[in-house]
């Protein structure tokens, strides 16, 4: 069966080759009327070198894409990606607004669906790529999602990201959920693996852990909890995370339960959010909250985690990425989930219609055909493996980090194990040289989710889900963890087996545009909430905590919190309705 699949893809490849041989002169450089009549197929080679501006709302690096990914794109498309990253530039939407006002956002644009997409299409900043779409075979695999995103638009302007062929009620994450109470398992073991009933019971355990390991290997003081401020949005970001341990996720100022059974206003005195703030407050009283939390940023925290100075991580992808190196795990050290007995961890369901971000081609693109071809490539197997190597645990380029073994199953190469699991390393010169990590895609976006099956191999893109990986991945840390978790191999398995997962069906709901007034009030209110939340976490005593809470509620109300809440509540309910709809339709 496997070889069938491969033969078919070879055939299509051949067909594309022949077709493109007929018309090499694709409309490079022209941006006139791409909507009139079908465009010619993409050529296999592009003659002139081109640098394309990629406006990428998710990218965390700015400038020309270097390393092996850069070389791969250049080899394929004679294209250099010049990534423009508002995240790096800072200042929220300032860069977006400036570029939009100037009438040119970029050759390739990665933006949000909903408000921004509509606005860009209306403003004539994106190009209708429908004439090329018929040649975009890789993204056409997800035609339902593409059609859905472009619903109401006159043509195809956007290709959705994070698409998948999985059912919406299945988790889109790999072997770990996005959220979870992850602790330093070795230190947790030192204090005797105490059982944890609920969130509040975690505090004394963390206190014991901090006492058991007062200093890290580098001689610096450890703290059980360490926070950072640079991701704060609608609320204090860190305080939202434990809410997800109970199946809630945010819709503006509303915490919505995955199954639609509960909607909380975050400022409600009984809300989970306030409970978590109280939890932080108590942690600070116990002396287990890093006092530097208030002034440090994510990077500082991350390097502390790498050094072993922090014992708790809100997310697996943070703690494990920082500390679970092969060397540490061989010594039984690393972050693993320490389940709360009453947890019901929120998981994002595989979204049939894709995620929040969409790709588009800018209306002033120098060579829109090449832009479209490049976007399409990101949805091909080769593109997914290469592009999602950082974000979704895809394996990296075939032949470099992995290959098919004698049984036709994908398997990591020694180099792959070294760079993905170990200490990293330099890529061979023919792949572009430089360190592997530095050469990964700067786009920082997942096109096809890692759990999805690669049609060419029949296995997921995510190497952690390969049998060949799992067979070799066991180490003292995971063995110890699995031994205490009833023999389950992965967090996801454990959670599913114990009914501790709340999957928010992947409905790709995007909230409608806020009116300017609502969005302004929202900005004012969220500044108040974030500010007060931090003060509450570090309040001197209970009385100050209560006073700050009351003050936050009254200030927010005075600014018009209720108006925004009404909007968010309606959105949360719409989202829930849509979730139920897709589950009914796709299962």
């Amino acid at each position: 069966m496997l070889s069938d699949v491969r033969r078919r893809s070879l055939l299509t490849g051949g067909a594309v080759l022949t077709l493109s041989g007929l018309g090499l002169s694709a409309c490079s450089g022209s941006n006139s009327g791409p909507g009139d009549g079908p465009a010619e197929p993409f050529p296999t080679a592009w003659d002139d070198a081109l640098t394309a501006d990629v406006f990428d709302g998710l990218a965390n690096q700015m400038g020309e894409q270097p390393g092996w990914f850069g070389k791969l794109v250049t080899d394929r498309f004679n294209l250099t990606l010049n990534v423009i990253a508002p995240n790096v530039a800072g200042g929220g939407d300032t860069l977006y607004n400036t570029r939009v006002s100037a009438g040119d956002l970029g050759d390739i644009v990665l933006t949000d669906q909903g408000q921004k997409l509509t606005e860009l299409v209306e403003g004539g900043l994106l190009m209708d790529i429908s004439s090329w779409y018929e040649h975009m075979e890789s993204s056409a695999r997800f035609d339902a999602a593409v059609q859905k995103v472009n619903e109401g638009l006159d043509g195809i302007y956007a290709i959705p990201t994070q698409v998948s062929t999985l059912k919406p009620s299945e988790p889109s994450e790999g072997i770990d959920p996005t959220f979870g109470p992850f602790v330093r398992w070795d230190v947790y073991g030192k204090v005797g693996y105490p059982e944890i009933g609920t969130l509040e019971d975690l505090l004394p355990v963390l206190k014991q852990m901090q006492d058991a390991e007062p200093t890290a290997a580098n001689g610096k003081r450890t703290y059980a909890l360490s926070l950072f401020a640079d991701w704060d949005g609608n609320y204090m970001n860190n305080a939202k995370q434990p809410c997800c341990y109970y199946g809630y996720d945010e819709v503006g100022f509303v915490l919505a339960k995955a199954d639609g059974s509960d909607f909380q206003s975050i400022l409600d005195p009984g809300s989970l959010y306030v409970r978590v703030l109280k939890w932080f407050f108590e942690a600070n009283q116990l002396g287990i909250l890093d006092p530097e939390s208030t002034t440090q940023n994510y990077d500082t925290l991350f390097s502390k985690m790498q050094a072993g100075q922090v014992l708790f991580s809100f997310w697996p992808w943070q703690g494990q990425a920082a500390f679970n190196t092969e060397a540490n795990m061989a010594e039984g050290k690393g972050f693993m989930i320490a389940p709360l007995a009453d947890q019901k961890i929120f998981s994002y369901g595989a979204s049939v219609y894709g995620g929040k971000q969409v790709f588009g081609v800018g209306s002033n693109a120098e060579d829109p055909a090449r832009g479209a071809a490049f976007i399409d490539w990101l949805y091909s197997s080769e593109g997914v493996y290469a592009n999602s190597s950082q974000t979704m645990g895809a394996a990296g380029p075939q032949g470099l980090t992995w290959e098919l073994n004698a049984d036709g199953k994908p398997e990591l190469t020694d180099f792959g194990r070294q760079v993905l699991l170990g200490e990293g390393g330099n890529v061979p010169e023919e792949w572009g040289g430089g360190s592997y990590i530095d050469g990964t895609s700067w786009l920082n976006v997942t096109t096809v989710i890692g759990n999805d099956e690669d049609p060419e191999t029949g296995f997921p893109f995510n190497y952690k889900m390969w049998e060949t990986y799992q067979a070799t991945a066991a180490n003292p840390l995971t063995e110890d963890w699995a031994g205490r978790m009833g023999g389950h191999a992965t967090t996801m398995e454990y959670l599913q087996a114990n009914d501790m997962l709340a999957v928010g069906a992947g409905a790709s709901y995007v909230a409608p545009e806020d009116s300017s007034e609502i969005s302004t009030i929202r900005n004012q209110v969220k500044a108040v909430i974030v500010e007060s939340s931090w003060k509450m976490a570090f309040a001197k005593d209970q009385a100050e905590f209560d006073a700050l809470l009351a003050e936050m509620q009254s200030t927010a109300d005075g600014l018009g919190y209720q108006q925004v809440l009404e909007v968010d509540m309606a959105n949360a309910k719409d989202q829930d309705a849509l979730r139920k709809e897709v589950v009914a339709e796709f299962g």
């Binding site: 200042g91 929220g92 939407d93 300032t94 977006y96 607004n97 400036t98 939009v100 006002s101 921004k116 606005e119 860009l120 209306e122 403003g123 900043l125 401020a229 006092p291 530097e292 208030t294 002034t295 300017s516 007034e517 969005s519 302004t520 900005n523 004012q524 500044a527 974030v530 500010e531 007060s532 939340s533 931090w534 003060k535 570090f538 009254s554 200030t555 109300d557 005075g558 600014l559 018009g560």
Partner: protein, 326 residues
């Protein structure tokens, strides 16, 4: 001021010349025209940079969305202005922001005597190398950006910074002091950072002015038996006063423009209430919050207040000094 007086004195002369011979009127006109032409570039610049931007005020009447352009955006009239005063909490916020702005500006103005005093004392140092060293060291911070100043502040005053580390290691404190993340004395702390950064730079003008003081004044004072402190107090300081007042006047005109970089880098959840000045507020709400129309409305408020302040200082100056500024 001297040159102004000189031109004022010459002007009537010329007019007299013109009225004497009517035949020279065209050439006088031509001369006037040439003179006018020579200021045209400046007028154009003034128009471009001071009046043309006022056109941008129109954005405050729209719900401006950059992607749609002004023509595609909805006209909302005075919505943004009414919103600013729509509830007591909104008004409180604006009042607090204005309070921060004025307080920190006045602290800055109050601190403006420090460069003067510094220059006067620096001038008394005899050893030239030491004087130059001090001057260089105090001028340098002016060229460091606020971001780097914050880095310095962070490495010295964060909870695990140098100062806390030192105090803890000699056993003076057991819990780190919160210098950066507290709302105590924020205005004062910001003013001190400002002084640290600008002291040496601000003194340069005064040092130049001191160099221009007629040495014979000092000599005659010495002959009359004046000591060092009396020459400083009775000669140097009075001689510097005109310079000081000009600079003070400029500072007052700029009172609402007390910058935002400094406050932007130093702001955090704990001091935001007291650190948020008008420009920073506009930035936080308008730019990061993606509402350029509201930002325009707030910055118009700033222009209005600036004009009011300027007029009142002008009135004050008329009453006190007998001359008006504008």
């Amino acid at each position: 001021m001297n040159t102004e007086a000189a031109t004022a004195a010459k002007a009537p002369d010329r007019r007299d010349d013109g009225s004497r011979g009517r035949g020279r009127l065209p050439s006088q006109r031509r001369e006037g025209f040439v003179l006018f032409l020579s200021i045209v570039p400046l007028l154009v610049l003034v128009f471009l940079f001071s009046y043309f931007p006022l056109y941008g005020w129109i954005y405050s009447l729209f719900d401006y969305r950059p992607a749609r352009g002004l023509s595609g955006s909805e006209f909302v009239g005075l919505q943004w202005f009414t919103m600013l005063v729509s509830s007591p909490t909104q008004v409180d916020q604006i009042v607090q922001v204005m309070l921060n702005t004025l307080a920190m500006s006045f602290l800055g103005i109050a601190a403006s005597v420090l460069p003067l005093a510094f220059a006067v004392f620096l001038n008394e140092i005899r050893a030239t190398w030491f004087k130059n060293l001090i001057q260089t060291l105090t001028t340098l911070p002016n060229f460091i950006s606020w971001v780097l100043v914050y880095m310095i502040a962070f490495s010295m005053f964060s909870t695990t910074g140098m100062v806390n580390g030192l105090l803890e290691s000699i056993g003076l404190i057991s819990e780190p002091l919160k210098f950066l993340d507290s709302d105590e004395h924020v205005w004062l702390k910001m003013a001190l950072w400002g002084v640290w950064k600008t002291l040496g730079w601000g003194a340069i003008l005064y040092l130049a002015a001191i160099a221009g003081i007629d040495q014979s004044l000092y000599e005659s004072a010495k002959v009359d038996g004046a000591g060092r402190f009396s020459t400083m107090w009775h000669i140097t300081v009075p001689q510097l006063m005109p310079t000081y007042f000009v600079l003070l006047m400029l500072a007052i005109a700029n009172i609402l423009n007390n910058g935002m970089e400094q406050y932007y880098v130093f702001q955090n959840a704990f001091n935001k209430d007291t650190i948020q000045v008008l420009d920073l507020y506009v930035y936080n709400i308008g730019m990061t919050g993606n509402n350029l129309s509201l930002a325009t409305a707030i910055s118009m408020l700033k222009s209005v207040i600036s004009v009011v302040l300027l007029l009142s200082v002008n009135a004050l100056s008329k009453r006190v000094r007998g001359t008006s500024l504008i």
